[in-house]
Amino acid sequence: MQFSAKSLIMAATLSAMLALPASAGVIDERQEAMKAVGGAIKKLAAIAKGQMQFDANIVKSSAMTIKSSLETASSRFPEGSGEESGIKTRANPEIWLDEEGFAKAMKKAIAAAENMASVTKGEDFMPALGQLGGACKNCHKTFRAPEK
């Protein structure tokens, strides 16, 4: 009896030790991907604020970074990688309660990034940025938790 309890605890600890790095890896990867998204949109924001001149090449490359990083991030939200993982994350449990809504919000943002990548004229830039930023907000509003 005592032995089996002990081995149960050991098994639990072992599996926790195994599970931890796996979760940590995926959380780290999505956060890195989101940071890249954040960095790229700041470049676009600099154009919007007039700190940088409109340049279709920079716009396109930033938009493509956003698109591919969002795609990376979207595959890094497995169940169990929320706050229950014990790792610092702002992923809201709502992600797994409304998986469809989360996927839809991601799709919308990726489409907005594609749209931004196709912008070649200055006058199309601000509307595309409004759509893109709106799509980040649309997801973060519901699916990203407040700071811990």
Partner: protein
């Protein structure tokens, strides 16, 4: 012994009477309303600064006809219809009814509102701004929508005492308001409701206003709005103004979570000079 008991009994009765007296709604008189030519446009500014739509939003549509759930630690509210429908909204309210709701948390029938309706902040608003706000609400399309009752209405009478404390503390603060930014932040903007820690009586702590607080949901925290420059959150008032007006469109990713997304949307509808005043005031907080 008998004497002592009598004395004790008397004290208890007097205390209870005093408590009941203190808990009674204490509405403002008609004389607080000055003669005023209403300005609907200013009313709209107050509506957006006050974020009325964030809580009074309907399940569908963009008029403040209420009905969407508002979760709070004491239960779920379904904020009522504040469109000018005469039977289910506030269409038949007098100006004084409205002022008493916004500044004293008292309904036209004389009942206490719960502070989930942030009248503790709106009580710092100017009466003329409130009259303009009501005039603006009256221009909206009336929507027929009855509100769902809060399931703990039996608690209402007890709110009187709490309000004595919470509102008393307010008037002292309003005298310190010097500028437009401070007024918008502490009055209509009701930023303190989330960004200021509450004491054990659930009253926002005047000692450390806007210094951050635990999130009302119990998850995470609401950030401090003090020392924003020293903490490298924003480089200057213009930077913060951009964040308030444009949020994620300009890459400010921390303006969406925990309810701030709706606030930022409301802010984006204010005149630039008003968000700039808010930004300047906040950047000045040490």
């Amino acid at each position: 012994m008998k004497q002592a008991l009598k004395f004790l009994g008397g004290t208890v009765i007097i205390t209870i009477a005093a408590l009941i007296y203190l808990a009674k709604p204490d509405p403002l008189p008609q004389t607080v309303i000055p003669p005023h030519q209403t300005d609907v446009k200013n009313g709209q500014v107050m509506y957006n600064a006050g974020g009325c739509i964030s809580c009074h939003k309907p399940e569908k549509g963009n008029l403040p006809s209420g009905g969407s759930p508002l979760k709070t630690p004491i239960g779920t509210f379904y904020p009522p219809n504040i469109t000018p429908d005469k039977s289910t909204g506030i269409g038949s309210w007098s100006d004084l009814d409205f002022i008493n709701a916004m500044q004293r948390g008292i309904s036209p029938a004389g009942r206490h509102y719960f502070p989930a309706f942030p009248y503790t902040s709106y009580s710092r608003m100017k009466i003329t701004d409130l009259l303009d706000l009501k005039a603006y609400l009256m221009t909206l399309k009336p929507v027929v929508a009855s509100s769902r009752q809060f399931d703990k209405n039996y608690l209402r009478p007890a709110l009187g005492l709490w309000k004595q404390l919470a509102l008393a503390d307010n008037s002292s603060r309003s005298s310190k308001q010097q500028n437009r930014g401070a007024y918008l932040v502490n009055g209509p903007g009701h930023c303190n409701e989330c960004h200021t820690r509450r004491n054990i009586f659930m009253i926002t702590d005047t000692g450390k206003p806007l210094a951050g607080a635990p999130h009302i949901d119990g998850k995470g925290k609401v950030p401090s709005l003090r020392n924003l420059k020293a903490r490298k959150r924003f480089s200057d008032a213009k930077d913060l103004n951009n964040a308030l007006r444009f949020g994620e469109i300009l890459g400010y990713d921390n303006f969406s979570s925990g309810g701030m997304g709706d606030v930022q949307t409301n802010m984006s509808r204010l005149p630039n000079k008003d968000t700039m005043a808010i930004a300047e005031y906040l950047m000045s907080l040490k």
